[in-house]
Amino acid sequence: MKSVEAAAGYLLIAPFMLMFAVFKLYPMLYGIAVGFWDRNSEMKLLDTTFVGLSNYITVLKSASFWEAFAHSIVFSVIYIVFLMVFGFLAAVLLNRKFWGRTAVRTCFYIPYVTNMIAVGIVFKYLLNPVRGPVNAIFRLFGASGPGWLSSPVMALPTAAVIAGWAALAFHIITCLAALQDIPADMYEVADIEGAGFWQKLRYIVLPYLTPTLFMLLTITLINSFRNYTAIAGLTGGGPGTSSKVVSVLIYDDAFNFLAFSRASAEGVIFTIFIIIVNRLFTKARSIWESRN
């Protein structure tokens, strides 16, 4: 009976495993292998020259890679801070009862189901410093308004905030679910004790939500590096190279300059970095959990 159950189990997961192997595992392993060969032509991988770590050394010596790397970090920090802070605050506000709450909640959820390229097109129009309505408001007050996506200083932070705004709903939904798990009598006791909004937030909401926030932080950390669509749709990596992140660099190297092996090495190095950051974060989380 057990073996029949096991067979049924394998049968059920087989379609997924097959698709995973064909569309994820094989390309991933192939992608890693390309970095060790000189595969920059239509030749089959094993017909090209094995170059060992040469592509990795080239990438590690490249100023363009480190510049894109720094931009990726800046993007991630802004994206994470924006999502964690505003996701949490929006959830707290949406957890309160007020007229039109459902409509407001829906408004928050719409960007999450909107394609990032479409979001990019709309924001490029809204934030156009000359014709866009946002800077038109600035002009009403006699100010010219910043070049949101056209200024080398503003482009990267603006793109990170827009990408964060588009992903905000997931944080809100998750935090809202956790907030609704907090027993109502906790608030009642706090009310009897005379606690205000901020005290309830500090002593009830935050401790209850900490595991959820840690989980969200882990997901956001990983998602923050998946920023190709946001940057490609909003700035294309410019002006100059001011918002060129690693994902855009990899795309350019692979598909515009046909330097597949170098792009592969860039991808692997960056993935290793993400894994290290994630491991450090997980370690910090387990230390915090053991202390609390």
Binding site: E42, S64, K124, S150, G238, P239, G240
Partner: protein, 437 residues
């Protein structure tokens, strides 16, 4: 049992509908004994000239053209074609985006050498195309040029008339161009005397007319030649300091793309562009305007710089082409005829009078009297100027192009000085050249 039968029928319908989706083209193609497949940007499918051209080709040769459109702009087209060819696509004919990407694509082994096949077809390509034939270092050519785009100055007659400034005439110099632009510039009316793209070759255009090589003799980057620096500074000076044209920062802020000048033509007096621009200026439907345009030759860059800039379009055959014979027939036909349909200039080494009439006649006709055949011939071809390529070429050309554009944009936006920009260009390009090799 009943359920199993129902499920089986449903699955059969699902599977057959999937196959049916991919079968339309095959059934259309099956009416023909011979087919050729080609890939172009999806916008071509809406172009009457493109569809007429293929219909005429089919009538003449009996070969059916199956078009595989690629959605997106030119950059996306290039990336998608590269991915497709890298993955072993068997599409037959590819229109490359010109010299910038050609050598890299050749070195990646995408294209078939054409020497033997073209010569076997009784064509002497060296006599027909002269220096326009893209011969690689190995002595082979992997594409045929099917059009050339020549630069000139287009100008807005209404702005000249309003300012009382006579229309420009050649031969003239860039100093005279700047002088004219200064007379036309009127910040109160929002009029710029000049417009140049925040792109290459505009950011150092006269240096390119002086034919300063992009590579040193040893094959390394030559962008530290003082002439490049001089004209990169000149571009910034006329934009940021003289204010005769929108600065790079302003163009970035406007999110200006290639057709910006058409939309903003009412306030841009002169713009150096290639003859492809006539398609846009003549398209009253897509870019309605209430002013007439004129054409003048490109200004000279002084001694040694009496050259016009010329860009080429290439047609190549995929090394893995499924129908190589038909592909050759189509590529040769395109090289000989596409310009007639597209309204462009052929890439022949010499143009007969009949060719000139044909090339410029359709442009003049479409302009509804704004320019004549003679205007176009005198200001694009018979200018007394020599010709140099407007493109960076070589296996790392696409990266070279990108790097120069990025660094000079940063320089123009005051993020770095010119020496840092040049130094960054040289370091990064040399790195790219080493990687490409």
């Amino acid at each position: 049992m009943k359920r199993i039968v129902l499920v089986s029928i449903a699955m059969l319908i699902a599977v057959s509908s999937v196959f049916a989706m991919g079968g339309g083209e095959t059934s259309a193609a099956s009416e023909y004994d011979r087919i050729v497949t080609t890939t172009v940007t999806a916008t071509y499918l809406n172009e009457t000239w493109f569809n007429t051209m293929n219909a005429d080709f089919e009538k003449e040769t009996g070969i059916h053209v199956v078009v595989q459109p690629v959605p997106g702009d030119e950059d996306e087209y290039k990336a998608k074609i590269n991915i497709d060819l890298m993955g072993g696509s068997d599409v037959d004919v590819v229109e490359t985006l010109g010299p910038k990407d050609y050598s890299r694509q050749v070195s990646a082994g995408f294209f078939m050498p054409l020497n033997d096949a073209v010569e076997a077809a009784g064509i002497d390509p060296y006599a027909l195309y002269g220096a326009n034939l893209p011969v690689e270092k190995d002595g082979n050519y992997y594409a045929l040029p099917f059009k050339q785009e020549m630069y000139c100055i287009f100008y807005n007659k209404a702005i000249f008339d309003e300012a009382g400034v006579p229309y420009p005439e050649g031969p003239w110099t860039w100093d005279e161009y700047v002088e004219t632009a200064e007379k036309l510039t009127d910040p109160k009316k929002g009029i710029y005397g000049s417009f140049m793209n925040a792109d290459l070759p505009w950011m150092y255009m006269p240096a390119q007319q002086l034919a300063v090589p992009f590579y040193k003799e040893d094959g390394s980057c030559n962008f530290d030649d003082p002439v490049f620096k001089e004209y990169a500074e000149w571009f910034k000076y006329i934009s940021n300091d003289l204010g005769i044209q929108p600065s790079v920062a302003e163009l970035e802020a406007e999110n200006a793309n290639w057709n910006y000048y058409a939309l903003e033509g009412y306030r841009l007096a002169m713009f150096p562009q290639g003859n492809w621009f006539t398609r846009l200026l003549n398209s009253q439907e897509d870019y309605p305007k209430d002013w007439n345009y004129g054409v003048a030759p490109l200004p000279s860059a002084g001694e040694g710089g009496n050259n016009n800039l010329v860009s080429l379009g290439y047609v190549a055959i995929n090394k893995n082409a499924a129908h190589p014979e038909e592909a050759l027939t189509y590529a040769l036909w395109i090289a000989e005829n596409q310009w007639k349909y597209e309204g462009g200039i052929p890439a022949f080494a010499t143009m007969s009078e009949e060719d000139q009439q044909l090339a410029f006649g359709s442009i003049a006709e479409a302009s509804h009297g704004q320019v004549t055949v003679d205007d176009l011939y005198q200001n694009l071809v018979n200018t007394g100027l020599g010709s140099v390529s407007s493109d960076i070429v070589g296996t790392a050309a696409a990266e070279y192009y990108n790097i120069v554009k990025e660094e000079l944009s940063s320089y123009n936006m005051n993020l770095q000085d010119i020496d840092t920009a040049i130094s960054n260009i040289v370091t990064r390009v040399n790195e790219a050249i080493a990687n490409a090799e």
